[in-house]
């Protein structure tokens, strides 16, 4: 299990006796090139737009008058547009791109008819664009995480169905052999998403339920889309990238299997903890709080596993961008999940619910964990698709540190501000106005950290465009990294 680690850099000549595998990898990469690059490119476009809207929404929190004359840019629409851009434009497409590539590589089978996934991707982008324009025009639905107007939903569903079917077909046509844990996560995610999205839309838009069940379905969807769509893709990537980059198998494969199946078993019960204190059957909330605690099992198995895999190899964080982003994401995954468990405790929930603390938690999960993991995956995948190496380690470092400090400051300011906000809201001696004014400093700090994140994204997008234009460093085969002479 504990293989000794060579410090030499991989050389293409090592592949002579392994011609077959190399050809296989090259085939897989070639078949994924167009669709995966398409998904990554459009994801990055949405990331930039989403950052802009997020920044605008953040700025409006402490300067409400700004750009308020035009109804399209009022806070209520801008915030929702930001959420949907980053969730469905950026995160989902980054996840689909990574998922398709990983699935193809792990199935050791090329992506068949890649054109179909590109068409699906085009439709997905049209769907997101229609949805965002609809939201800005004021057609937003008052359903959290499902704000896209009803006319955008079928487009998204059909586009997704094509992608999902392709991923599942790839799994069915895989080369015989072991099914790696990442494949389980990916297959599950590709099957769970249509079930979640379809069910929520049928029960909330096509044939709306009434009363408390409506709220139940809303939070069942909103929480599960994080835990059963984004989380498994992020974990699939981490379970592949970390062992692969450091060249050492996962510490305990038993734990990884346990982690997957317990996630599958417990996660879908969690959503009702968003309704603690609400007019809602108490047994449902209690069951959900219990399930939230059961999540300690999958979270800790993943945490222990990744830590033990990394142990003794933390030095490699200095040399590999993929590893740096992925390990950051994996560590934040543990942190954000444990934080989520504490937030399901009713006494703590009473303080943090409906405050900026929750917003901080959401950003920690979607950015600190998922987005960082996706950046890591992109740093690994893109060179293999375009055939040249990332141009500048310096730009990658700027990207990493701006992102890392940005998200740390953002979550810190929101958490502290939110905690104080929640505490004072429970204290009758303070007026609402005083409390709102008290949060302003924290919100300004959040806007500043948002600028850092936006800068990080600009650097990354520029670097990515250089790669698309094949202006990266040349040399060696795409599957291997050569070492630059200067690390910058």
């Amino acid at each position: 299990m504990s293989a000794t680690l060579q410090t030499t850099v991989a050389k293409p000549s090592a592949s002579t006796e392994a011609e077959g595998e190399v050809v296989q990898r090259v085939e897989v990469d070639a078949s994924c090139r167009i669709p995966v690059l398409f998904f990554f490119s459009s994801a990055i476009c949405w990331l930039l737009l989403g950052s802009l809207f997020g920044f605008l929404a953040s700025w409006k929190m402490h300067n409400p008058g700004i750009l308020d004359d035009w109804s399209w840019l009022t806070w209520g629409r801008v915030r929702v547009a930001h959420l949907n851009m980053v969730a469905y434009g950026w995160a989902s497409q980054a996840g689909i791109g990574t998922g398709l590539w990983l699935m193809s590589r792990l199935c050791r089978a090329p992506l068949r008819a890649p054109g179909v996934t590109v068409v699906a991707g085009i439709f997905w982008n049209i769907g997101v664009t229609v949805g965002i324009v609809g939201i800005l025009a004021g057609h937003s639905q008052s359903i959290e995480w499902l704000e896209f107007p009803a006319y955008a939903t079928p487009l998204l569903f059909v586009a997704y169905a094509l992608i999902g079917i392709w991923a599942v077909l790839m799994f069915v046509n895989r080369r015989p052999g072991h099914v790696y844990v990442s494949q389980w996560y990916l297959l599950a995610a590709f099957l769970w998403f249509p079930w979640l999205y379809g069910t929520a839309n049928v029960l909330m838009q096509a044939f709306p339920l009434k009363g408390v069940t409506y709220g139940a379905v809303n939070w069942w969807y909103a929480h599960n889309v994080l835990g059963l769509w984004f989380t498994p893709i992020g974990l699939a990537s981490a379970y592949y990238m970390i062992p692969k980059v450091i060249g050492r198998p996962v510490h305990s494969y038993y734990l990884s299997a346990l982690g997957f199946w317990t996630l599958a078993l417990f996660y879908s019960w969690n959503g009702m903890h968003h309704l603690i204190g609400g007019p809602f059957p108490i047994w449902l909330i209690t069951a959900s709080v219990v399930a939230s605690f059961m999540m300690l099992i999958p979270v800790l198995t993943v945490a222990i596993n990744h830590h033990m895999t990394m142990r003794g190899h933390f030095g490699l964080l200095a040399s590999s961008p993929t590893l740096r982003f992925t390990v950051f994401g994996a560590m934040v995954y543990t942190l954000v999940s444990l934080q989520g468990v504490t937030m399901a405790i009713p006494v703590w929930n009473k303080i943090t619910h409906f405050t900026h603390y929750t917003v901080g938690h959401a950003h920690l999960g979607m950015y600190g964990f998922f987005t960082m993991t996706m950046f890591g995956a992109m740093y690994y995948i893109v060179p293999r698709l375009v055939g040249c190496e990332w141009r500048s380690p310096l730009m990658i470092k700027w990207h990493f540190w701006l992102s890392a400090y940005g998200i740390i400051f953002m979550v810190a300011s929101l958490s502290l501000g939110g905690f104080l906000q929640g505490s004072y809201l429970l204290d009758k001696d303070y007026t609402f106005k005083q409390i709102v004014e008290g949060t302003l400093g924290f919100l300004q700090l959040r806007s500043v950290s948002g600028i850092a994140l936006a800068c990080a994204h600009l650097v990354f997008a520029f670097h990515f465009v250089l790669m698309l234009l094949r202006l990266g460093r040349k040399g060696g085969e795409a599957t291997y990294f050569n070492s630059p002479e200067t690390g910058a």
């Binding site: 991989a10 592949s15 595998e21 692969k244 060249g247 198998p249 494969y253 060696g476």
Partner: protein, 67 residues
Amino acid sequence: MIPPVFLILLVGFGLAASAVGAIYWAARNGQFRELDRGARSIFDEGEPVGQPTDQVFRKRVRAPKAS
């Protein structure tokens, strides 16, 4: 017509059954046996265990001449 809620419930049960089927298949297929080999399945002779694969920041080692 069957109310949509029941249809959704039926699909839900189907999905749950497929999860049970998946874990049954995995156990029968030997996916939970020889776990060590499973962990090594992402490595092969071209990219073996013990060989890091992503070294952009690496200093000191000179890059081989570009072909």
